[in-house]
Symmetry: D2
Subunit: 341 residues, 4 copies
């Protein structure tokens, strides 16, 4: 951490600040520039609140040097984390998985869709039982009954399931039912009560980036989960909010290599939510794969026009077949490249 002081700061004021910092157990390094004085803080800077430092009269600005995330940081954990999602399916460290299924669990057609996506090559099944909807008047999901349908499908098809948990009070229910992977949605990316609660379990967590979440905030959210003891975190880029309105979100695929650079956790991308339109899902699924994602999450529905939510972005099973063929071909290129490097 670096504190930039006004050139006009008195020696007394600078010394006072230096001793204040050193009392917190850090070392300092003061350098006098042409237009400002710079104090470098060395040591465990989590002990100092940068905003507090910035509130002092003589301090102009404070800049972080170290990343505030520790457990999610590749610096302290160079090897890729591989998360075991159950049913023999692992993700990360060269293991690439496709999570597919309907936006919402709607009933018996879940099994029909699940069979088709498995046949096409998907290795994990998604489906929402508890749905976060912008409007209180929109369909809110089947709830616990939806979980049962997912469990049934998982059993029949021997595939791990991924489904969203929205309320800390539901976490135990998800654990009790044996949900393989709990998803934290974009709107809950900084719901710290929920993050802590899933952090207390050992169930893998698919953690989506918030709509206005920076890459660092996504990693800090992972840190919340990991600091409670659960290190089975899968990061997910699903589009961020910008000024562009031709797509539902702006797919920040830069985040894929950036997250791989900063963190050891697996990175999944969701081209369905990141585009919002069926016609853009295939090209952006391929793009995410080429960018190096460890997995994709794709919405598939047997009859998108009848879907209870997000039908506009679902692929039909036939479209998904074709997309999977091309994903495999891109993946072959990428994984060969990885071997060479």
């Amino acid at each position: 951490m670096i504190a930039i002081l006004r050139k006009s700061a008195s020696d007394d004021a600078v010394n006072h600040l230096v001793s204040w910092i050193e009392k917190k157990g850090l070392q300092t390094n003061v350098s006098y520039g042409e237009n400002e004085i710079v104090i470098g803080l060395v040591g465990d800077t989590t002990k100092i609140d940068p905003f507090l430092l910035e509130s002092m009269d003589i301090v102009e600005r404070v800049q972080r040097v170290s990343e505030p995330f520790k457990k999610a940081n590749r610096k302290f954990h160079p090897a890729d984390t591989v998360v075991d999602c159950g049913h023999g399916v692992k993700i990360g460290g060269g293991n690439f998985q496709v999570i597919a299924g309907p936006c919402s669990v709607e009933g018996k057609n879940l099994l029909t869709i699940a069979r088709r996506v498995k046949k096409a090559g998907a290795t994990m099944l998604r489906g929402g039982a508890f749905k976060p909807r912008t409007s209180p008047y929109a369909y809110q999901g089947m709830g616990a009954e939806g979980l049962d349908l997912l469990i049934e499908a998982a059993g029949e098809l021997d595939m791990p399931i991924v489904t969203e948990v929205m309320d800390p009070r539901d976490v135990q229910l998800f654990v009790d039912r044996g949900i393989d992977v709990m998803q934290i949605g974009a709107r809950n990316a900084q719901n710290f009560s929920l993050l802590k609660e899933v952090g207390k379990t050992t169930t893998p967590v698919l953690l989506k980036r918030g709509m206005s979440g920076t890459i660092d905030e996504l990693l800090m959210a992972a840190e919340y989960i990991m600091s409670e003891g659960n290190e089975n975190v899968i990061l997910c880029e699903r589009g961020i909010r910008t000024f562009e309105t031709r797509t539902r979100n702006t797919f920040d695929l830069n985040a894929v290599p950036v997250l791989h650079y900063l963190s050891h956790l697996p990175v999944v991308a969701d081209p369905s939510h990141a585009t919002g339109y069926t016609r853009y899902v295939e090209p952006m699924a391929l793009a995410a794969c080429a960018a190096g994602a460890d997995g994709l999450e794709i919405e598939v529905h047997d009859c998108p026009e009848k879907a209870w939510s997000d039908g506009s972005q679902a692929l039909t099973p036939d479209q998904f077949d074709r997309t999977m063929d091309r994903i495999r071909a891109i993946r072959a290129v990428i994984s060969t490249g990885d071997d060479q490097s």
Copy 2:
């Protein structure tokens, strides 16, 4: 709602869509343009998911005409809502209030600060007992003990208190202790479980706009609370996230008159979080007041350098005295203007 179809859509396909819409109880109005066909949907359009409509092959785009919020909508409730916050303090409909106090409740100094802000003219006391922090390693608040300190201060000073609730499991605790106003923070602006839970109480809710929340989403969050029965909602603009980094957030003061135009609910502005720096709090507090806000929420700390959180944006009691003088002067201009109009 309007559906824009491709010019190339066959008559059969158009008729099929029209009858699908009409089966849902809506009326339609088809017009053939030069480059597209437009279907107007008349009736209760909440019965139709616009994204679903957009998923159909012949549909190019769907545009909303009506706002999706009903209870928060001024169209259906032209008069300003006045929220009674307890201790005789009302907000909205010409009643202007200043909420002041420390970011976090830290101990006995709460009372010292509370006395000073009351003397300066603040009418409500703020202070966080449960703190949402980006880092799991940062100070997380005093919890229930902090609520007790707030209650004690409220009693002594006869002022309503405003404090943040982050977890649906804590809502009953807040109600039991008699908290006057529950605050929903920016990070929980789409935490629908929490919104529903506070919606089941009768305690007034100060609802902050999300960092990437549109004005419509803020109103939909209010709608979540109101649709559960609690109509005592106070909206709060506290800055949104943009590309600008010289301030902590971008204070979207346009939101004040826009919210007044769209909704009957009171609108408060928070210049402390919206700027992030003490030196910008006064001018932006005055600006918010001039824009027509029904109230301001301002952080004040007796010793910002020692604050446990957000010290960089707190005013000292002396700064707050001066700011209150000027707020009163601006408010006098604005309320006179309102009478004239």
Copy 3:
């Protein structure tokens, strides 16, 4: 275009507005909804300024139905445009090209770099002679002398060159020297004087999206050029500005399929500017290729540490060799897929 009127509008006022619109040669279609009245405008809506319409008392909102771009619009020109860049190099309609070279032309090393990128498989040479720099104190480019070095390289290597023009007064110079492709940079994406000036030539134009430019604005900028007579426009996605700071820009790869859907013009992507860091260029080049781009623009420098500008995002020739190998492999997958579709 659709005008949404207040429910409270009097019949007289509605009739008045209808006749005002019809006097402009358009037809109208009025429908009465539950909470508003909607007028559909049919005909050449470019004759009506939507903002003007919105200024009228009874009008609540105006929404466009047709896109405002005509010449760039795929609706009126379904087949892909193929732009001939000279030296036998075509782009668009299945023709994929890689444009590579240094950010700035710096001297004789241009030829060294050009030979290496050609050998690696690049088919067009880039290099800036006139440089737009945020600071007036930063290096501003070699100017006309740089153009000469580019022409010399183009001649020796028989490759078309792409170089940026910043000033309408320089356009004739670029034409006189025989520059193959003129680039319009992101900062000039709405410099209408410059757009019109290049529109009066027949030289192909590589048009970059502005930092805060929507996809529609990019197409409207193309429209400026095309409406002056020059239809040889190549669109370029180079990253937009968002709140994310871990990369120089946010690479909006969704724009690639969206532009292909809306327009017939070729679409190029620039992973160098879109990421800002050498280490992210290869994965994002592959992603852009997988998303269906018709070409890539990549910065290559023989000694990035000595580059006069943007060294941080340049590949070395060795890195570029490897990247080209993988681009070819991805392109093979994508073009096969295209044949099947």
Copy 4:
């Protein structure tokens, strides 16, 4: 400037970098942290391209400490700049001015509007003769003939005029006609050819912030003008582009106190473009005034429904009368406050 190196950097590599920096005439200050090595660069850091530094293998990140703007920087010029706009009208340093008039000069009604705005208290007249329009098919302004009408109005009313210049080839024309203040629009905020050209004159320049321009970029654009010799620069906040769509732009009023803190140049705000709707212009004009702006630019039209551009955001003369009354009242509060401080 600070370079953060990887902890793994060898001593040789660090020494090599240090001597490279020192050869450029700067001093260095190396400190070894727990997780990284930090080099502080002291001296004229404009000699070093931060992106170049960042391209080096051992460098993780580079952070600026000093602002890159010099002439616009309050640090080197503590007193407020007062710009003389002609006709005895000065702005900045306590001098507050209101610039009003139509968006576009349309003909003889300019004089009618000008008389009304002067009577209401406006001290400068605005009107566009050359109009930047997103669509090439929209009205592009009267051109030189419009300038003549402005000159005529300025003469009759003895008010300085403000009008936009879009093309470096037109700057001499503006100077020859004696235009009092040349406006640079948001779309040309980084049109460096144009900035340099107006920098060579002595005519005051009203410089608008770009739609995606940071506060620092606005100051760098001012620096372009000032570095050519013209120090008569007035900064203008006119709204930035964000995700919010209920207003035309997001009015970043934080920029007013931030610009005053960072720079000595006068700061004007434009509530007409920043909101886009007549109904929000008055509250936001008052807010800008309360935030401490040195002036306001407001669109007024005698018949907004007939305006050739931007009618939706213009005030009528009657509305402007009322707004001016309230601006004066707010200004009285603010300027009293300034005296006290």
